[in-house]
């Protein structure tokens, strides 16, 4: 597949926003249960966090419009929620944004039911993770995507980037929470690294179910395309071929493994263990940016790695 940057930014930005809201509600729930001390300026932390989640999710929503040929008809996309995961995502994303918005407002005006709103937001966030991942996992002949690992990766990577953001935010606004959030962010990042590596190993061993023989029904073991029938450009060539070399793909793979998992863990450990709040915040903010860049590369690779069976019909110009 040729990675579409609109979708790369949509899934990474909204994943980080969902993870951030889960982190905020997690902190508030832990404080409500008495597991952690309620920070001094708690409402500022929650309001800023919720605002950041809304901004990130909103940017993702804007990015998604660039994917459409007719963005002015986008409202129609909620119609087929009974059958289409994309339609369900289009319903869940605004609900999630509304919940995050209300959660921030509730904290801003000190409403008593902020935690209940927060848990509604967590539900919307989880539902959105499922919808986003299932858009890809439900395409059974894109074998690289058709695995439960796709769902696990989307949840873990979104939560990891969200918790890293929450850690950086806490270093600035509520330092008492930083250590706890930093531990969660590191654990989620490591879990994400494990599940993403598992899917890399799985995909490297995949045997394509479709062959040029099954695609044409000509059962000769030596069957090659002589011409795809045209020399010009076509949608099928632009959409399903990324045109990058195997070396580039390998480079992107190692780059995202380093930038999305290794570097953030090191930066979070270093940032959380320092006493100077300024340096700590700077390191944690760097961790967020490096991890986000890594996740953009990860999502690019996720698309580029998937081999669409239609490519069997477009193997040679002639």
């Amino acid at each position: 597949m040729n990675p579409a940057f609109s979708v790369v930014f949509l899934t990474t930005l909204s994943g980080a926003a969902q993870g951030l809201l889960i982190a905020l509600v997690g902190v508030e729930s832990a404080a409500w249960l008495g597991l952690v001390a309620q920070p001094a300026a708690a409402s500022v932390f929650y309001v800023t966090g919720a605002a950041l989640a809304v901004v990130l999710g909103g940017l993702g929503l804007i990015a998604s419009f660039f994917h459409l040929g007719h963005p002015e008809r986008a409202w129609r996309a909620i119609a087929m929620w009974r059958t289409s995961w994309l339609s369900r995502e289009c319903l869940c994303l605004p609900v999630f944004l509304a919940c995050a918005c209300l959660y921030g407002i509730a904290h801003g005006f000190a409403w008593p039911w902020s935690l209940a709103l927060g848990w509604l937001g967590v539900l919307a966030s989880v539902a959105l993770f499922v919808c986003t991942a299932m858009i890809y996992a439900c395409l059974r002949f894109l074998q690289e995507w058709a695995t439960p690992l796709t769902l696990v990766n989307f949840v873990l990577l979104g939560c990891a980037s969200g918790f890293t953001l929450a850690t950086a935010l806490s270093a600035w606004l509520a330092p008492v929470l930083t250590i706890g959030l930093a531990i969660c962010a590191c654990l989620l990042t490591l879990a994400g690294c494990a599940s993403r590596s598992a899917s890399l190993v799985r995909n490297a061993r995949l045997r394509p179910k479709s062959t040029v023989q099954s695609a044409t029904g000509i059962h000769n073991p030596k069957l090659v395309q002589v011409t795809r029938g045209f020399t010009a450009g076509a949608f099928n060539l632009r959409e399903f071929f990324h045109g990058k070399s195997a070396g580039t793909l390998r480079g992107v793979k190692w780059a995202f493994l380093a930038a999305a998992f290794v570097a953030p863990v090191l930066l979070i450990v270093l940032g959380a263990s320092l006493h100077s709040i300024d340096v700590s915040f700077a390191l944690l903010a760097t961790a967020c940016l490096v991890q986000y860049a890594g996740l953009v590369a990860e999502r690019w690779f996720f698309f580029a790695e998937a081999k669409h069976p239609q490519n069997l019909y477009y193997a040679r110009v002639g």
């Binding site: 040929g69 858009i135 894109l142 479709s210 069957l223």
Partner: protein, 256 residues
């Protein structure tokens, strides 16, 4: 339930691309709007086509076969492109089994193209809407056309009649008979999409001689077998042939 479909005979397709151009001509002039053609006379041209004829080579030299392989939307009976559409623009019609796109509802998200393992759908660059083979839905039900013309443009254009059109659910139709008698098969059966379009395989041919009685190599082969067929003189051969009402000049040509 009716399921209209094409049955494509790989045994007679010569790869002339007449179906490709007639498809483009009909569908770019039709009521659903034009099909893009960017830079048609320039470097890097690009355009939308519903039908492509590709060529495959099977076997190793000298035992090779060239197979010309037309490919368009297969109008699957369980189309994976339809349930994924978020707007309902893609649908499968009950009355004739066609998989169609309601262009006015398409948002151009390309998800249906991702969901089609055959690469049968193309997003039109100009209209930014998903387009695909409609089996010439605006021809096949048009009562203003003579009955023999109520067929897809590609079927009418094929000079070798490699494309048959009909209802595969009607056991008496030409397409059902062809599938039964010639072993018609579906593409990528491993995904369970149950394509309506079928392909008729090549009929195996023997490689010894050309097999036709219009060629001298057959009599040369027969002579090598040692059978006692004494070649007649050219004049009497010609007489005999004219008596049967046929003339094979190649057969009478002398081998040097």
């Amino acid at each position: 339930m009716t399921q209209m479909a094409l049955v494509i005979d790989l045994n007679v397709c010569v790869g002339c691309q007449a179906c490709v151009t007639s498809c483009k001509e009909w569908n770019t002039s039709g009521e659903s709007g034009s099909l893009a053609d960017s830079n048609p006379y320039d470097a890097d041209p690009s355009g939308t086509f519903f039908n492509r004829v590709q060529s495959f080579e099977a076997g190793s030299f000298p035992d090779t076969e060239m197979i010309h392989f037309p490919k368009s939307c297969l109008h699957c009976e369980d189309p994976p492109c339809v349930p994924v559409c978020p707007t309902g623009a893609s649908y499968k019609r009950k009355e004739d089994g066609l998989v169609l796109v309601d262009f006015d509802r398409c948002i151009g998200c390309k998800y249906c193209a991702w969901a089609c393992p055959y690469g049968a759908r193309e997003l039109d660059e100009g209209r930014k809407e998903m387009t695909k083979c409609t089996l010439c839905v605006d021809r096949i039900h048009d009562d203003n056309l003579a009955e023999r013309d109520r067929q897809p443009a590609c079927v009418l254009a094929c000079p070798t009649s490699a494309r048959l059109f009909g209802d595969i659910h009607d056991p008496q139709s030409v397409v059902s008979q062809a599938i039964r008698e010639r072993g018609g098969y579906q593409l990528m059966p491993e995904w369970g999409t149950r394509p309506a379009n079928h392909y008729l395989p090549r009929v195996p041919t023997t490689s010894a001689g050309c097999g036709g009685d219009a060629c001298a190599c057959q009599s040369a082969g027969a002579a090598a077998d040692g059978s006692a067929q004494v070649p007649a003189s050219p004049a009497s051969q010609l007489e005999a042939q004219l008596g049967r009402g046929e003339l094979h000049l190649a057969l009478m040509a002398k081998r040097i």
